[in-house]
Structures are given as structure tokens and as C-alpha cells.
Amino acid sequence: MAEFKMPSLGADMDAGTLYEWFIKPGATVKRGDVIASVETDKGVIDVECFEEGVVVELAAAAGTRVPVGQTIAILQVAGEPVVAGSGAVTETPPPVPAVEPIPQAELPVAQPQAAVPMGGRLKVSPAAKKLAAELGVDLAQVIGTGSDGSIHLDDIRLAAATATKVARPAETPPVAGAEPRVTPVARRVAEDLGVDLHEAQGTGPHGVVNRIDVEHLAAEKSEAAAPLPAPEPVAEPTPKAAPQPPDFQTAMRRAIALAMARSNREIPHYYLETRIDMTKVLRWLESENVKRSVAERILPVVLLIKATAKGLIEVPDLNGYWRDDHFEASESIHIGFAISLRQGGLVTPAIHDADDKSLDELMVAMRDLITRTRGGRLRSSELMDATITLTSLGDTGVEKVYGVIYPPQVALVGFGKIMDQPWAENGMLGIRPILTATLAGDHRASDGRRGAQFLSALEKFLQEPETL
């Protein structure tokens, strides 16, 4: 059995409200499946499964606020022996507990120790790791029996011995009677206007109800109620399972405060900056965009994302995490892209494998991320696995950015506005479009020289735009 726990969707999250279940007992899940959505300070996030197996039990109901690390579902992991009496083997799965909220007292007591937070690090000794490799056991599927959830040698042996296939019941439809998907802003507006979100037609991505939908609905309602000059909005009683709408701006501010305070407390930052002549890259981009329709045009920041990714291939010391007093380099380059929200606040979801994507693919990925961050919803992996952060404040007219690193990452790359500035080259003074790139580095993980090598690589790639 594997306990699926409330994931930590960022260093700053201590709890999340289970918003909607997309699975029920008996359902087969595989890695990457979206099994639930969780409402956090950053909006509603789709939570992906990191295991493969069959759902035995949902341990928390929709609408409940659950601390990070507390079990929300029990899974029969593929390869485990079937446990008698579990939901995995019954013909008719037990009724879904998700529709009715479970009274707090019936919920499993919060685990004092999160064994393996989803996407977090497994606690495994080197000896156990070695044995797992020898026996061909996937550590992610081993249940640690140590006091803190750590994986012992016996756990590995057990997992290897019980590696048998589990019979899979047919795929079950998603939970009925689920809550509508709503953006945080829409939720607040709905509350202000006294609109029942269940009546709103979502026109956002994946049918997400946005602010405009709510306002339309409110307008329709008030028209219907005419000729009364000021119709009293009759708010339907909110269903019990509906999560309490939190004040997102306050919550997000607090989340950012926690993460940034931790960063400044723990990370000895060093800062480097360099000025980059953007003449070539802008000229190249212009010639590319002229061939494209408006909808296919590439924004300059996409070139900066790609150049950053290529720079990180040359200087991998800046790409990864500082954990347990050592630097863990990441093989993948997932660039956390800082996206500001109109209502205030900031989210830095990851553009996955940025080094492998073409400029067009990066533009599509960025468009998708910005659109979902601002209006729809993000997936848990996007909030969990950025290996570095990139922030571009060029639109605001600011010249340079001194970033605060988002722990456990070890670097942040900042770009200001491209400005016409005096530039000396070959003994000549001219006016060039200049971009100031900065690097905030974690001095525990890297030194100024490495940081300088990165900025110099970045500059080099931006002088060869056709290779990006």
C-alpha cells in the first residue's frame, strides 16, 4: 500500500484545500494522471499521481483543508500483493466519500512526519539504494517503515519479493457532483456579487469559470430580476463541500513572504551582472517575425529562455537544488518562469525541458503557462520541479533585476528592459539596444567564477540567435 500525501506545491505551502477528486476507489492510476485538484495560495492546482496502481481509499473529502504530508488517498501500488478486503479487489467499489465532507474527527490524524512527500526526496540509506538497484526495485514504489518514513533494507526485500501484477478493474468515470472549476478571482467576485458558481458557464481553458463568466451570470440575473432597481442578489446556500473562499491576495502575499524570508535567511546570495548588446538578436527576431502571422510571432523573452537553458548546459552548477547541505545538480532544465498576476502576486511555474524545445515550442509553452496561470490552472509538477528561476521585468521599464532565489533552487536569472544605450566597440562609440542580465547565485552551491561563466555563455548564445 502506498499513502498518497498532500503534496507540497512549493517551499511556501503548509496546507491545501482538496478541491475535487478525479478518481474513486477501484480506479487504476498511472504516473502523470491528474487525480485531484487542490486549492492553494496559487490557485487551483491539478495534482498528478507519481505512482502506478489501484485506488483503495480516498482518505480526505473534497472541501477539506489538509496539511502538507497528510495522507489523502491509499493506493495499491502495481506489483504489490492484493490485500484482502481492500477496495482494489471488490467488484463494486465502495461509495465515494468525496461528495459529503467527512467530519474532521473521522479524518485520519495528521501524520507528524511526512514520509515521502510527493515529488519530494525519498529517505533512503546508501545501502538500501544499492540493494534496490541490485534487485531492480523502483524506490518510488517502496513503502518505508522507518519512524520517519525512511526506507530500510527489509522494505526493499519485501518490495522485490512481492512484485506481482495486480488485477486492474475497469477505468471508473470521474466523481459526479464535483465542484465547478473556478479561478480565485472569479470566486471572490462571485462572493461579492452573490452569484452561485454552480450556475456559471465556464468559458476559460478546460471549462474553468473565470471572472467574466461570473459577471455575465450576475448581469443576466439582474436583468431577469428587472424592473426592480436594485435586485437583492439571492445567494444560494453554498454546498457544504465547497471550500471556503480564502482571501487569495493575502494568502499569496503570505506564501511569497515565507519563501522569500527563508531565502534571505538561508541563502548567501551573490550577484553578478552583464550588459548584452541585443542588436543581432533583435534584428534576427524581426526578420523571423516578419514571416509569421501575428499569432505565431515570438516574443524576445523566448530567446532569453532558450539562451538561459543553453547556458545552463555549459554551467550545470546553477541548475538544481540545495538540499541537506549539498548541491544536487538536475539533469533536466526546467525553467521557472516568473509570471505576475493582475490581482498582485507572482507564480513561477516551470517550462519543462527548456533546452530541448525549439523557439516555437517555447513560445507555445510560455503562452500556455501564462494563460493557465492567469486564468485556468496549473499542474502540480509545474509548481514543484523548476530547477532555476527566470524573471523578466523588461515590460516595466526597469533596467536590471536583483533576484531573490526561490529555495531550494540555487540561482535566479533576471532581465531588465532592452534600452538604447551608449556602447563602445572597436574604439567606436555607438548607440545599441542593451539588455542587462543579472544572476543571483547561491554561494553555497557555486562561486562567482561559475556564475560569470554562465553570464558569458548567455551572452555568447545571444550573439548567435540563429543557433537558438
Binding site: I212, V290, V294, A295
Partner: protein, 86 residues
């Protein structure tokens, strides 16, 4: 597009506001100064601005080349630019 010739400046403005309402829904468009810097006043970034141009291309069939971005600072700039091309 069959709208082209019939469009008045007011209709163009209405179309632009319709697109902007999806981008910056909380702004007060009734009191928008037609000569103010649009990106600053509405707090829209280059991504939002590109979306505005994509929306205009779809709605009125005017495709603004990148070289002209600098001419489109205020609402009046936009309206006049589009009016001259529909």
C-alpha cells in the same frame, strides 16, 4: 471579414475594448483616457499586447507588423491606426 468598410472609429474602439476586457478585466474602460499610455494605464505586458494584436487581427483583419508596435501607444493611436487600414 465583411465588417471592414462599415466600421466607424467608435465601433473600432468598442472592438478594442472588447478584446482588452478579456486581457485586463478589472480596468475601468469608461474613464480610460484615450491619450494615456495603454500598457501602463492598463498594466498589460508584452504578452498581453501581443494577444491584443492577435485579437484585432481576428476581429477586423488588420495585422499590425512588429515595426509599427512603437506607434501604438494610446487608445487613440490604436483606433486611428486601425481606422486607416480597414
Amino acid at each position: 471579414m465583411t465588417v471592414a468598410h462599415a466600421l466607424t472609429k467608435d465601433q473600432i474602439k468598442e472592438t478594442i475594448i472588447g478584446i482588452l476586457q478579456n486581457i485586463a478585466p478589472e480596468a475601468d474602460y469608461d474613464d480610460l483616457d484615450p491619450n494615456a499610455k495603454l500598457q501602463e494605464t492598463l498594466d498589460i505586458d508584452s504578452f498581453d499586447f501581443l494577444n491584443l494584436l492577435i485579437g484585432l487581427d481576428e476581429a477586423v483583419g488588420v495585422s499590425v507588423p512588429e515595426a509599427d508596435y512603437g506607434k501604438l501607444v494610446s487608445m487613440n493611436d490604436l483606433v486611428n491606426y486601425i481606422a486607416a487600414r480597414v
